[in-house]
């Protein structure tokens, strides 16, 4: 079992991180289209999307029986399935893999839910170290405004209602996201996350991302699948 940082593959792995409403998914989508247009073999993988554990996660969320430990472990199971069946083989095959959320999401959420920070980090030690991890830094009020305007409401676990921070879902969501933001800030130096100012115009953020990605792919021209 290889550990974080020990993997050496021809493929490249780019991940986006940030709290809900930071705009990371939009940026990743734009990056995805650009890479495809450039002729790279690109594959996208999203947090919490493994078909293997979907039913289990759904059951736990619906019945609200998930505790901090099972919430953490079921998401780790989901991640492991995608790592073993998707991300690893693709990186070995030389693909460019894009992940919307990665292990840092778990480090943020699980620690805010009370799990031991070292325990969670060791749990995910089988993960491949990304070529670059972009962290979309955004003030809490900006992110909250984006989320609450665009949606009819936030879900139980998404709002951190399981933590009993507040009876009011919106208030709970705000406190929960604020704590996750604090965890992300600790991770920036710890994991050398590439910080993107998510309050800047979308095109400006995208230009910055593409510059970094381009530099990382410069020595990997052979990853192109089409002219």
């Amino acid at each position: 079992m290889k550990r974080y940082g020990e993997h050496r593959f021809p493929g490249k792995l780019f991940v986006v991180e940030g709290i809900d409403g930071s705009g990371k998914s939009t940026q990743l989508m734009l990056l995805h289209q650009w890479l495809q247009a450039e002729g790279y073999g690109v594959v996208f993988s999203e947090w919490n999307s493994s078909p293997l554990v979907r039913e289990t996660t759904k059951r736990g969320k619906k019945k609200q029986t998930l505790t901090p430990s099972t919430f953490s472990l079921i998401h780790a199971t989901d991640f492991a399935d995608r790592m073993e069946h998707n991300i690893l083989p693709l990186l070995k095959a030389g693909a460019v893999v894009l992940c919307d959320r990665y292990i840092y999401t778990a480090f943020g959420r699980d620690v805010v839910r009370g799990m031991d920070p070292q325990w969670v980090r060791e749990l995910y030690s089988f993960a491949v170290k990304p070529t670059a991890a972009f962290y979309f830094r955004v003030p809490l009020d900006v992110a909250m405004k984006r989320i609450l305007e665009g949606r009819s409401g936030v879900k139980f676990y998404e709002a951190g209602l399981d933590l009993g921070l507040s009876e009011d879902p919106e208030e709970s969501f705000g406190i929960f996201q604020g704590r996750i933001l604090d965890e992300y800030e600790k991770m920036v130096p710890e994991y050398d996350l590439t910080t993107v100012d998510a309050t800047r115009p979308i095109e400006e953020q995208q230009t910055y991302m593409r510059q970094i990605v381009k530099a990382k792919l410069a020595q990997a021209k052979r990853l192109r699948v089409a002219p």
Binding site: M1, L52, R59, S69, T70, L73, I74, W119, S125
Partner: protein
């Protein structure tokens, strides 16, 4: 105050858990569930409330694991984490509430089987120990010990070889028998390492069901009465004042274990029961 191996789970109050947590460990087909079926009514007759639990029985993940194992895309790390999810769910929703209510919790396997399986499948031992670090330390771990030669007839004459119990996922080129032998040998060796590390109480599982049960019952009764565990090797504590050389000589002159070497893992403790065994246990029923 109960202890956990590493950091406890958030919100888990380790005080006031007056019940007893008794683990029955052992490899596939060794007779664990048969013994639990005998232990439960015996305990209930004495007025003890019993919860019995086993791997994959969680409300949350039991079904999911079953379905995942029926497919063919289950990775090794994924499987380990799925089992850990199941374990955490049972710990929080079954085991701890039962201990709080003063039950005797009999668990058919605990974290040790899960660790052994993961390690045999190539998981980093540090990684899997960390994953289960939140587990409660049990009051006793009874390990039903057998050798692979004893195991094979039990399995053949009861349910037959199973894909996972034969480790076909890691030895796919072998036939079921060869794979079973190879996989179970590796698993038993790992159990021996865990037995030392986690201080298992070893019960010889090779005699008939009744004999094994009597040993187990004695052990469980002792745990429930709160008496300290007897040392497995009485020779390890020399009489007061005995010189070191004399103690060493006495140990060296002890009769060798009488069991055939092929079926016993090394360093088996001396057993006070006849060792003759046949396929006369639960396996034939």
């Amino acid at each position: 105050m109960r202890e956990t191996y590493a950091a406890p789970l958030p919100g888990m109050n380790l005080a006031e858990l007056p019940g007893k947590l008794i683990v029955i460990e052992g490899t596939d087909g060794v007779g664990r569930s048969t013994q639990i079926r005998l232990l439960r009514p015996w305990l209930e007759q004495q007025g003890r409330a019993v919860l019995d639990t086993a791997i994959k029985r969680s409300e949350l993940a039991g079904k999911g694991i079953q379905q995942a194992k029926e497919g063919h895309t289950l990775g090794r790390i994924t499987l380990s984490l799925f089992y850990a999810t199941d374990f955490a769910d049972r710990l929080e929703h079954e085991i701890v509430p039962a201990l709080r209510a003063g039950f005797v919790v009999l668990t058919d396997r605990y974290i040790y089987s899960l660790m052994a399986r993961a390690i045999v499948r190539g998981a980093d031992p540090r990684w899997i120990r960390n994953a289960y670090g939140f587990a409660l330390k049990p009051d006793a771990i009874f390990y039903l010990r057998t050798g692979v030669d004893d195991l094979i007839p039990r399995v053949v004459f009861s349910r037959g070889f199973d894909y996972w119990e034969s480790g076909m996922d890691i030895h796919p080129s072998e036939d079921m028998y060869d794979s079973f032998r190879k996989y179970q040998t590796e698993l038993l060796a790992e159990f021996e390492r865990l037995a030392k590390e986690y201080n298992f109480e070893i019960i010889d599982a090779t005699p008939d069901v009744r004999t094994v049960f009597e040993h187990l019952r004695t052990g469980v009764a002792r745990v429930l009465s709160g008496e300290p565990r007897e040392p497995l090797f009485s020779v390890a504590t020399p009489p007061p004042g005995e010189p070191l050389e004399a103690a060493a000589k006495r140990v060296l002159e002890m009769p060798a274990p009488t069991r055939p070497a092929a079926s016993t893992p090394e360093e088996a403790p001396p057993l006070d029961q006849p060792l003759a065994r046949a396929v006369d246990g639960d396996a034939t029923k």
